[in-house]
Symmetry: C2
Subunit: 371 residues, 2 copies
């Protein structure tokens, strides 16, 4: 019998509420499609940090690494300084497990508000997830020469050196460094090409900006073009500014969008907005080792505990997880379940976010029933 061990960080705010429903639906799919799931809950997040000062210890990484996947709810609380938990939990997990693909489908769903004048959106953002400007390298300088030494160990490289900037400044300053390595650009480009092939498409669009950030994105374009050719695919390069312009003007004509890490953050949130909102935006962080699945939305402390949280994005993230575990039938059944629930529900039976009155739990029940 197929058996999966899933680590689970429910996190803060609405995280536990939506993950409970994702677990419920996953269990239903398991019994319907003949596999079993065992959950290991881990306590990390803002609450745990505020109680213990512990963000995400190394033993936790070890423990998580023994599982088949990680399902994560939402991390964050206004009382914790921005950056601590994002970098200490989310980015740490992505980097530690070398989850080099951040996969974010932007699909429209029935009866979900599209802010644009388009009927249907079906785009996949394939975001590089281990480098670019996200590596945390930089510094703050007080007037005059200064120097910052660094040492970064990553699965794809080790990097060290000095960042020495001499300012003859009229003021203080700060700097941030981004890097791209050929290996990382190749593997994410190959992944995007395969994703496009699976959709029957012959072109991948790269979000770039080599007319201004020539060093890093000129390199990206050269390597990605070469890799796409190797994969037998076409690479269309679009400047990220123009791309955002065209995405909002007409989102119907795009397929797979490949992005460096930072542009991917922006483009995928924009597309979540275009395709129907955070209520249905699911995400996956995929590597050769442990992969992590999380809704794109945050912890929404304002509605935590009210039963108004919409669990659909978390449920769709669980579906991405099952697809990754090769339980494609179960994954498909969940997505179809969400679709038919949204289609058939009476107005009151929709989530609050979509104008209905259904509690988090009853949305989970409805969808579980359809699976």
């Amino acid at each position: 019998a197929r058996h999966y061990r899933i680590a689970c960080i429910k996190g803060d705010g609405i995280g536990p509420e939506v993950i409970n429903e994702a677990m419920k639906v996953t269990e239903k799919a398991a019994s319907a499609f003949g596999f079993t799931v065992e959950w290991t809950e881990l306590p990390y997040g803002a609450n745990h940090y505020l109680r213990t000062q512990e963000v995400l210890p190394d033993e936790a990484l070890k423990e998580i690494g023994k599982h088949d996947a990680l399902l994560l709810g939402a991390i964050g609380d206004p009382s914790v300084r921005p950056g601590i938990l994002e970098q200490g939990i989310l980015l740490k997990l992505r980097f530690h497990f070398d989850q080099y693909v951040n996969l974010r489908p932007a699909k429209s769903f029935p009866r979900v508000f599209l802010p644009v004048k388009a009927d249907n959106v079906d785009i996949v953002v394939v975001r590089e997830n281990t480098e670019d400007f996200y590596i945390g390298l930089g510094g703050r300088w007080e007037k005059s020469t200064s120097q910052q030494s660094f040492n970064l160990k990553r699965a794809n490289y080790e990097m060290s050196g000095d960042l020495r900037l001499e300012f003859s400044p009229k003021s203080n300053a700060a700097a941030q460094v981004g890097i791209a390595t050929e290996g990382a650009v190749r593997r994410i480009t190959a992944y995007a090409c395969k994703a496009a092939q699976a959709r029957g498409e012959d072109t991948v669009t790269l979000a770039s900006k080599s007319n201004a950030l020539s060093w890093i994105y000129g390199f990206w374009e050269d390597v990605a073009k070469d890799e796409a050719q190797k994969q037998g695919m076409k690479l269309q390069v679009a400047n990220v500014d123009a791309l955002c312009y065209h995405l909002v003007r007409d989102p119907s004509k795009w397929g797979v969008i490949l992005t460096p890490n930072m542009f991917g953050d922006i483009v995928s949130d924009l597309l979540a907005g275009i395709a129907g909102g955070l209520g249905v935006a699911a995400g996956a962080n995929i590597g050769d080792g442990l992969s992590m699945f999380e809704p794109v939305h945050g912890s929404a402390p304002d509605i935590a505990g009210t039963g108004k949280a919409n669990p659909v994005a978390a449920i769709l993230s669980a579906a991405l997880m099952l697809g990754h575990l090769k339980e494609e039938e179960a994954a498909k059944a969940i997505e179809e379940g969400v679709r038919s629930y949204l289609e058939e529900a009476a107005k009151d039976e929709l989530p609050w976010e979509f104008g209905g009155k259904a509690s988090t739990e009853s949305v989970g029940d409805w969808i579980a029933e359809k699976v």
Copy 2:
């Protein structure tokens, strides 16, 4: 009598066509409001570069600097490698004249297609225009240790040093560095605060991303908050990804958006898309010395010479120029002229871009007549 000397780079593709109409409308406003304009045309752009290998020589900068303003059409041609003209002309002008404000109003106009479900958009992007990741600092590394030395002279600072990154790579790599100086963040924040005050608003929104790029944008937030307080204004910080999400979901509730250089590039193009397209998107690059005015659109070589180019964005850029020269009445008359033309024109009398059949020239005539 008030007299202005305007330098003019018409540029490539549709640049000359749309600038001719902007000049026509400006002349009309001059005679209506009692000032005179003298134009100095300069030949730079892709055509000039392909003929002479010259991009923008130092004498040209000197010559331009003797004028009251610069009006620019569009630069670029597919046969020139990306980056050469953008960095050699556009960014060079911005940096040389220390045009630290890139001002991009996103206003909706009558009968112009809004891709979003909103009636009206009236946002101003105030983009820092001299630093961030646009300073051209970075390098490409072949396997193993490498080092890049640099020396940047800017109005706001001088910077030099070594960028030394040691890779123990599985592959080649590239890096890009962005910087922020306190003086530059303060002056653009002060400008944005004043722009918001002029609109009767008490809040400026900063597009940031300190939860991931903590060094540079943490610094930005600290300095901008302090400066906003000095200016008696509130600063609301939004992560750029969430901001793009909310802009597309509901663009009606935003006022002045302050951005670092790169996020401003993205957010302003997105907003041009939301507010009605490149056909009406005007831009200004403002400094304490010579300022530059340019439509946001490119050279559109595919429609150059067909008479289908829409001159409205160029005409609105000329209006921004007149406003900057303190000819506010003239500026207002041009904007009103555009508005009433778009409102009153028969379908066929609209620009091709908006579904009409009016030539570039006749759109200019129509608007000139209204002024």
